[in-house]
C-alpha cells in the first residue's frame, strides 16, 4: 500500500514519507491522549461548558497539520486537535484554553475549541459553522495583494456544515478568486445526532465540487497513509496556484458530539463497517508492520506523551484564573473611543 503513496521506489521519498508518517502518528496519539484527558477533566467537573473530541478523525487532521508549512493558514474545527498540534499549537495553549487560564491565548474570554493565534495562521473558530472559510479566503487574498505567494489555507468542516449558506458563499468566492484554499470536509456520518440522509441528498459530498469549479479528491479518513497522500497532493496543487481544492474524507465520529452526548443514535452497522475502524489503531498496525517502531517504542512514546500532558495540566491548574477586576472590559481596539457606562461598574 505504501507503494501507492510514493513515487515508485525512490529511496529518499521513502525516507521523507517515513518521517512524515511518524510525525503524523505522534500527533494523532498526542491528540487522542489529550482528548482522553479532557474527557476525564470534564467528568471530574474541572471543565465547564462543552468538550468536543476528535476521536476517529486524527488521521485526516494530523495529515493536514504535518503537511502545512508554518507560514500557511489553518482554520481547524472542533475535531482537529491533532491537526492543530501538528500545525504548531502547543499543548499548553490547548489546555489553557479548555481550563480558561488567563495566560492562554484566549485569556479565559473564549474556551475549549474556540482558540487560536491569528498571527501564527492558527485561526480561532467562531461557533457558527461555515463562517471561517471566507476568513481564510480573506487572508489568502490579502497575501495576493501583498505579493506573498506559495502559501495556502486549509479550512476544515464537517458534513453538516456543508448545509450552511456560509460554506456555499465562501467556497464559491474562493473559486471565483482562484484562491489557494483547500477545503477539507470530514464526512463523519453525523451532524450531532443528524445522519447524512437528513443533511444532503447527493451521493457523495464530492459531487458538490463540480458546481463550484473546484478539484476534489475523496479519501478513506481512517487510513493515515492515504490521508497523507491525498492531503499532500491537494495542498501542493493549491500551492502551485491550481485553484481551490476540496477533499472529502469518509470516516466515523468515534465519540459523542460532545462529552455530554452518549451518541446512542450511531448506527451499529456503521460502527462495524470499514469507516468505523479506529484510524489510530490502523496507523499503529501499519508502522509496526513497517518496523518503523516496535511495541515497546510505542509504549514509551505513549508514556512520554502522557507525562507531557499530565505535567501541562498540572501546571495550568496552578495558574491563576482570570480576575474580573483586573480584566479590561473593552470590546474595541480603539481605546480612545471606548465608553464606560454606569452599568459597566457592577
Amino acid at each position: 500500500m505504501l507503494q501507492t503513496v510514493l513515487e515508485p521506489g525512490t529511496h529518499e521519498n521513502a525516507a521523507i514519507f517515513r518521517e512524515k508518517y511518524l510525525a503524523a502518528h505522534r500527533f494523532m496519539l498526542l491528540a487522542r491522549l489529550l482528548d482522553d484527558k479532557y474527557a476525564a477533566l470534564y467528568r471530574a467537573g474541572k471543565i465547564r461548558g462543552g468538550v468536543f473530541l476528535g476521536r476517529g478523525q486524527e488521521a485526516l487532521s494530523a495529515a493536514i497539520g504535518v503537511t502545512l508549512k508554518k507560514t500557511d493558514v489553518f482554520a481547524p474545527l472542533i475535531r482537529d486537535a491533532a491537526g492543530r498540534l501538528a500545525f504548531g499549537e502547543t499543548i499548553l495553549d490547548a489546555v489553557r484554553t479548555y481550563l480558561g487560564s488567563s495566560l492562554g491565548p484566549m485569556r479565559g474570554r473564549d474556551g475549549n475549541v474556540h482558540r487560536g493565534r491569528p498571527m501564527e495562521g492558527q485561526l480561532p473558530m467562531i461557533s457558527h459553522l461555515g463562517a471561517m472559510i471566507s476568513v481564510v479566503n480573506g487572508i489568502l487574498l490579502a497575501r495576493r495583494f501583498k505579493k506573498i505567494s506559495g502559501t495556502v489555507g486549509v479550512a476544515c468542516i464537517g458534513d453538516g456544515a456543508t448545509s450552511t449558506g456560509a460554506f456555499h458563499e465562501a467556497l464559491n468566492q474562493a473559486a471565483v478568486e482562484k484562491l489557494p484554499l483547500v477545503l477539507v470536509i470530514a464526512d463523519n456520518q453525523y451532524a450531532y445526532s443528524t445522519p447524512t440522509s437528513r443533511q444532503f441528498a447527493c451521493d457523495s459530498l464530492a459531487d458538490k465540487a463540480a458546481g463550484y469549479g473546484v478539484e476534489v479528491q475523496s479519501v478513506d479518513g481512517t487510513d493515515l497513509v492515504v490521508c497523507l497522500k491525498i492531503v499532500s497532493e491537494a495542498i501542493s496543487r493549491a500551492r502551485k496556484n491550481q485553484g481551490p481544492q476540496m477533499i472529502v474524507a469518509k470516516l466515523l465520529r468515534l465519540c459523542g458530539h460532545g462529552e455530554h452526548d452518549l451518541a446512542e443514535y450511531v448506527d451499529s452497522q456503521l460502527k462495524n463497517s470499514p469507516i468505523g475502524r479506529d484510524c489510530l489503531k490502523i496507523a499503529e498496525e501499519f508502522l509496526l508492520r513497517q518496523k518503523w517502531l516496535d511495541n515497546s517504542q510505542l509504549a514509551d512514546l505513549r508514556n512520554e506523551i502522557i507525562r507531557e500532558i499530565e505535567e501541562t495540566v498540572a501546571q495550568v491548574q496552578r495558574e491563576p484564573s482570570p480576575d474580573p477586576f483586573a480584566e479590561e472590559w473593552r470590546a474595541m481596539a480603539s481605546e480612545h473611543l471606548s465608553e464606560t457606562h454606569e452599568q459597566n461598574e457592577n
Binding site: R109, T164, T194, F325, A331
Partner: protein, 328 residues
C-alpha cells in the same frame, strides 16, 4: 409564584416540552422543525420523545437556519403553525434575514398572517462563552412585526409557549438555558396572564425593579437581601418585551418613585433603555430619582465562570445598584 429550586417537580425545560406536546396534540397544524429535534429530542431535550409520540411532525433540519425560517414562513402561509427550534439563540443570526425581512413583514405587506414560533434557547451559563450565551431579544424587538417573549417561570414557559403558537404573528420565544433545569414547579398552570401583560413578581414600596427572564430571579434574591435592610423592592417581570406592558411598569413606578431596569443583554438600545424611555417620557413626574439600568458589560460574553459572573448582573450587583438608588 416565587420559584425556588427543588429536586422534584416540573422543570422550565419540561414545561417547554409539555407545551409543545400539547400544541401538537391539540392542533394538527403544528409541527416542529430544527436541528436534532427529531428522534434525538433536541440539544437540550426540549423535544424529547415528541418525534416518537407524533410521527412525521417533528423534523430534523439540515444546518440551514436561513432555510429553516423560510420554510416555516411558507408553511404558515399554507395554514400550518410551525415551531422552529434554533439550537442556540446565537445561531439565529444566520436566519436573521428570514426572520426580520420575510416573517416580520409578511402580514403588513400582504395582510396574510405569519404564525410561526421561533424558539431561541438563550442566555448565559457557566462556560457558555461568546457564542452560546447571547441575549439578543432587543435585536428582534427593534423590528416591526415580531412578538418577543421572555418567560421567567415554569408556568410562563408553558402558558406563553402555547399562546405563542396560537398567535397569528411571528413570535421570537426566548427561553433561558440557565432556567431550563434551575427552576421547578409543582404543576403546570391551567390559566395565566395573557401575553402583553407584565407580572408583579414581588410587591414593594421603595423601588421598582423592571426585568425579565433569568434576571427576575437575581432581582428576587436581591430583594430578599434588601428587605433584611428594611427596603421593600417591587419587581416587575415583563414576560413579554414586545409588546411591552408600559402601564404596569408606570403604575409600579408611581407607587415607588424609583426605577431600576435590569437586563442580562448588552446595554446599548436594550430592553432597559426602552423601559427607561417609556417611563420618563410617559410617566415623567413619577420619578423622585434618576432611572437606572443594570446590564451585562458591553463586551462579548466571557467563557470563564469568574468572568461570566462579573459580566452579567447578579443578585449582588442588583442589590448594590438598588442601594445606590435608595440612598438618593
Amino acid at each position: 409564584m416565587n420559584k425556588t429550586k427543588t429536586d422534584s417537580g416540573i422543570s422550565y425545560l419540561d414545561a417547554i416540552r409539555e407545551a409543545q406536546a400539547r400544541a401538537l396534540r391539540d392542533d394538527p397544524r403544528v409541527f416542529i422543525y430544527g436541528q436534532d429535534v427529531g428522534a434525538f429530542g433536541g440539544a437540550f431535550k426540549a423535544t424529547k420523545n415528541l418525534a416518537q409520540e407524533f410521527p412525521g411532525r417533528v423534523l430534523d433540519s439540515p444546518i440551514s437556519e436561513d432555510a429553516m425560517v423560510g420554510l416555516a414562513v411558507g408553511a404558515a402561509i399554507e395554514g400550518m403553525r410551525p415551531i422552529v427550534e434554533m439550537q442556540f439563540a446565537d445561531f439565529s443570526t444566520v436566519g436573521f434575514n428570514q426572520i426580520v425581512n420575510q416573517a416580520a413583514t409578511l402580514f403588513w405587506r400582504t395582510n396574510i398572517p405569519c404564525p410561526i414560533t421561533v424558539r431561541l434557547p438563550f442566555g448565559g451559563t457557566e462556560g457558555g462563552g461568546p457564542f452560546h450565551s447571547q441575549c439578543i431579544e432587543a435585536i428582534y424587538a427593534h423590528y416591526p412585526g415580531l412578538i418577543v417573549l421572555t418567560p421567567a417561570t415554569v408556568e410562563d414557559a408553558y402558558a406563553m409557549l402555547l399562546e405563542a403558537v396560537a398567535l397569528d404573528d411571528p413570535v421570537i420565544f426566548c427561553e433561558h438555558k440557565f432556567l431550563y433545569r434551575h427552576l421547578k414547579a409543582e404543576k403546570l398552570p391551567s390559566e395565566a396572564l395573557p401575553i402583553g401583560k407584565a407580572r408583579i413578581a414581588r410587591e414593594g414600596r421603595d423601588l421598582t425593579v423592571v426585568t425579565y427572564s433569568a434576571m427576575v430571579h437575581e432581582a428576587l434574591e436581591a430583594a430578599r437581601e434588601l428587605s433584611g435592610e428594611g427596603w421593600e423592592i417591587e419587581i416587575v417581570d415583563l414576560r413579554s418585551v414586545k409588546p411591552l406592558d408600559t402601564d404596569t411598569v408606570v403604575a409600579s413606578v408611581a407607587r415607588t418613585g424609583k426605577l431600576l431596569c435590569v437586563g442580562e443583554a448588552w446595554p446599548w438600545g436594550g430592553v432597559t433603555a426602552e423601559i427607561i424611555t417609556r417611563v420618563t417620557s410617559e410617566g415623567y413626574g413619577l420619578l423622585d430619582a434618576p432611572p437606572q439600568r443594570l446590564n451585562a458589560k458591553d463586551t462579548p460574553v466571557p467563557y470563564h465562570p469568574n468572568l461570566w459572573a462579573a459580566h452579567r448582573p447578579t443578585a449582588r450587583s442588583v442589590a448594590a445598584a438598588a442601594r445606590n438608588l435608595l440612598r438618593q
